[in-house]
């Protein structure tokens, strides 16, 4: 059983724990098809969405997930809260705790913010993306989507292309997919590959053609223009030329290869529309699966633990 207070990252999360989350999510996938899109699992629990960084997709996904579990949800965004008046994360955390939430979902622009929060509050903390560190629920929904399409992870060839350096999604996927037994290849110009990343058990390849050859899954990552203060590549044109996913570049991949992207996409930079909207693309399925996976995480953390505490 997933027996932890928080989900801060996929580093150190075991194979059994990940599979339990994926299995639980499987049970939630069909809820949107029901007339009443709700289960009472988290009735009476309060989930706070604390978003210090703008996000549409992730915040909405978590909110829908919590609501479909019948939790009471509260959202606050940095711009509309006391954060803009200079309150520290520590003070905000203490104030939130005074209102006794069961779970805080934190999105923050600084790496480690979720770890910090988790040491300061007694409720559950789910990391919804911290700086360039991790985004564990994205890693889980990616794993879920891959399993739906491919069945198993052992020996699967997964290639992640793009701005690995600034990507929290890449880090979560590296940990998650490696733990599940997939062979992960990273592909980017050397300026966008973090130092010593091979020591996390992945292969690094600077040629897109070689990286894509025989791949079962190709995941494109967004070029994070907002974090590019240093000039990591000469021009968007050259980047697209060398690392943009096009139908032509995808030719070397396995015939059944799927294409993923965590969004939001820069069309024409890391991915061509013909690929993003093409038959291999599972990008919108990722989004749908995101809700089910986040329901599973909330359910297992909040209810799973409470149930066991009562049983004890």
């Amino acid at each position: 059983m997933l027996d932890r207070k928080d989900l801060l990252g996929l580093e150190g999360v075991g194979r059994e724990e990940i599979l339990e989350i994926l299995d639980t999510a499987k049970g939630f996938v069909d809820i949107p098809q029901r007339t009443v899109k709700k289960v009472p699992a988290l009735r009476g629990f309060t989930v706070v969405n604390a978003f210090y960084e703008s996000s549409t997709r992730t915040r909405t996904s978590f909110e829908i997930a919590a609501k479909r579990l019948s939790a009471d949800t509260i959202n606050f965004a940095a711009s509309s809260s006391s954060v803009s008046k200079g309150e520290t994360l520590l003070d905000t955390a203490k104030n939130l705790m005074a209102m006794a939430p069961d779970c805080i979902i934190l999105r923050h622009q600084l790496s480690g913010a979720a770890h910090f929060l988790s040491t300061q509050v007694t409720c559950h903390v789910v990391n919804a993306g911290d700086g360039t560190h991790e985004h564990p629920t994205q890693g889980l929904l990616d794993a879920f989507t891959i399993r739906e399409k491919k069945g198993a992870f052992e020996g699967l060839k997964v290639t992640i292309v793009g701005d690995i350096l600034h990507s929290r999604v890449a880090r979560s996927n590296i940990h998650g997919l490696s733990t599940l037994g997939a062979n992960v290849t990273l592909c980017a110009p050397p300026t966008l590959i973090p130092v010593a990343v091979e020591r996390l058990g992945v292969r690094v390849e600077h040629s897109l053609d070689r990286a894509v050859a025989g791949a079962d899954v190709v995941m494109a990552l967004r070029v994070q223009k907002e974090r590019m203060e240093g000039g990591y590549f000469p021009s968007p044109q050259e980047y697209f030329e060398l690392y943009g996913l096009t139908n032509a570049r995808m030719k070397g991949a396995d015939r059944e290869c799927i294409v993923m992207h965590p969004g939001p996409m820069n069309r024409g930079l890391e991915i061509a529309s013909e690929v993003a909207d093409g038959p291999r693309s599972v990008i919108l399925e990722q989004v749908s699966n995101g809700v089910a996976v986040r329901m599973a995480v909330l359910y297992l953390l909040v209810v799973g633990r409470k149930t066991r505490e009562t049983a004890d």
Partner: protein
């Protein structure tokens, strides 16, 4: 007033002494050293089983006053110094206002005099306002008591300015203490650039950020003949540069800190802000290279880079937390444990690292127990150990990376000008005015 320090193992590398001897202190100075001394009317301090050393000098501390008295004051910092076995500390000028003119130098000396604990050796800024644009009035600061110049916290990066600083300070016979760091390579770095920065998603500070400037400055020292001292070096590559400079006969010196000698990037764990320091904790290979350089003499001295911060500046997101660690009250036992207990260096080399060499670098007459020297004395026990308990610190800073650790070795007593300012287990006491 006479004090007879009897039966201690006296270690004074400047005189080549490591022997059981007695030491007579008279009117704050060393009057005599010898076997079985007797002196009428002298207070006797029995030091059997203890090591009697010239007073230790920490040539790199941040006392924070003026301007940051909520972090530390000259009073609390010098109390911490004597409690840690230091009879003198050189304080860095990154205060507010910065110590870039003689008025601030005089203010610091006056405050230190009033406090009455460790001696304070002010370090003046190299550049006005530490802005790295034009030279500060080095001459008038030297005349007022500045022992060296540094823009510590910032690097003197402009090469023509660094050249002029080395040339000009040569005329004043004062060294430049350089914080070697390329600001562009530093960027907004948080930890050493390596596996840990990759895993944690924190911006890395590459080793070359330090060593490239260290290498350049050694070339400038060769060009100018100026006195260059490189602060808190942290990388194997920097050690290679220093080794080559010394082999070439250049007047280049350097220091290493206890935290870089004991800890690596791994200590950052899950974003432990106590481990956030600049230069960052590096790799195990760097740590070993530093340690080897301490043993073989490439590193001239141990300095703490004591950097107290308020808890609010550390109990915060990693990216917002302040860089720095306190060190005054842990350095001596930590290094006794690492270097002496393990027999990596003999006691005489240990005293060079903490007393003789800092005195030599700063051009001070101290660092020895020669006749007529001021009786600044540090007395150590190798039989006792020290448990690191931040709530018992005398510094206002609690940001130690060594909380809960126990080190073999203890500071027994710290004497400044012949007065006991600290005795183990007791509160520090100031010198009588």
């Amino acid at each position: 007033m006479k004090l007879l320090i009897k039966n201690g193992r006296v270690v004074d590398p400047v005189q080549g002494i490591d022997d059981t001897l007695d030491l007579l202190v008279e009117d704050g100075r060393i009057a005599r050293m010898g076997e079985r001394l007797a002196e009428k009317g002298a207070e006797v301090l029995d030091c059997v089983g203890l090591v009697v050393c010239p007073g230790f000098i920490d040539m790199h501390v941040h006392l924070r006053e003026p301007g940051y008295e909520y972090k530390e004051t000259i009073l609390t910092g010098t109390r911490a110094a004597v409690a840690g076995g230091f009879t003198a500390v050189a304080c860095m000028p990154n205060t507010d206002p910065p110590c870039d003119n003689e008025a601030v130098v005089r203010f610091i000396l006056k405050k230190a005099q009033e406090a009455g604990y460790a001696r304070v050796l002010p370090v003046g800024c190299v550049t006005k306002g530490r802005r790295g644009a034009e030279l500060a009035e080095l001459g008038s600061m030297a005349a007022s008591g500045a022992v060296a110049f540094s823009d510590d916290g910032s690097c003197v990066f402009n090469p023509i300015l660094m050249r002029r600083a080395l040339e000009y300070s040569r005329g004043l016979q004062r060294p430049i203490l350089q914080h070697a760091e390329d600001p562009a390579l530093f960027s907004n770095g948080q930890v050493h650039e390596g596996l840990v920065s990759t895993r944690l998603g924190l911006k890395g500070i590459p080793s070359a950020c330090e060593s490239s400037v260290a290498g350049r400055d050694i070339e400038l020292a060769a060009l100018t003949g100026g006195g260059l001292h490189l602060c808190h070096l942290s990388t194997a590559a920097s050690m290679d540069h220093i080794r080559r400079a010394k082999a070439a006969g250049l007047a280049v010196t350097c220091e290493a800190t206890p935290h870089h000698l004991l800890l690596t990037e791994e200590a950052v764990g899950a974003y432990d802000t106590r481990m956030k320091v600049n230069p960052p904790l590096r790799t195990e290979a760097d740590r070993r290279a530093l340690l080897a350089a301490v043993v073989d003499g490439t590193v001239d001295c141990i300095a703490t880079d004591h950097a107290p911060h308020h808890p609010d500046e550390k109990e915060i997101e990693f990216g917002l937390a302040a860089f720095g660690m306190v060190g005054l009250e842990t350095a001596v036992p930590a290094m006794l444990d690492l270097l002496v207990k393990s027999k990596l260096v003999p006691m005489s080399r240990f005293v060079e690292l903490f007393a003789a060499n800092p005195a030599r670098i700063l051009g001070l007459p101290s660092g020895t127990l020669k006749k007529d020297a001021e009786a600044d004395i540090t007395i150590l026990s190798l039989k006792h150990s020290t448990a690191v308990a931040p709530d018992k610190f005398h510094t206002m800073g609690r940001n130690t990376p060594f909380q809960g650790r126990r080190f073999a070795g203890r500071v027994e007593r710290t004497l400044v000008a012949g007065h006991t300012c600290y005795a183990a287990g007791k509160a520090p006491e100031p010198r009588p005015r």
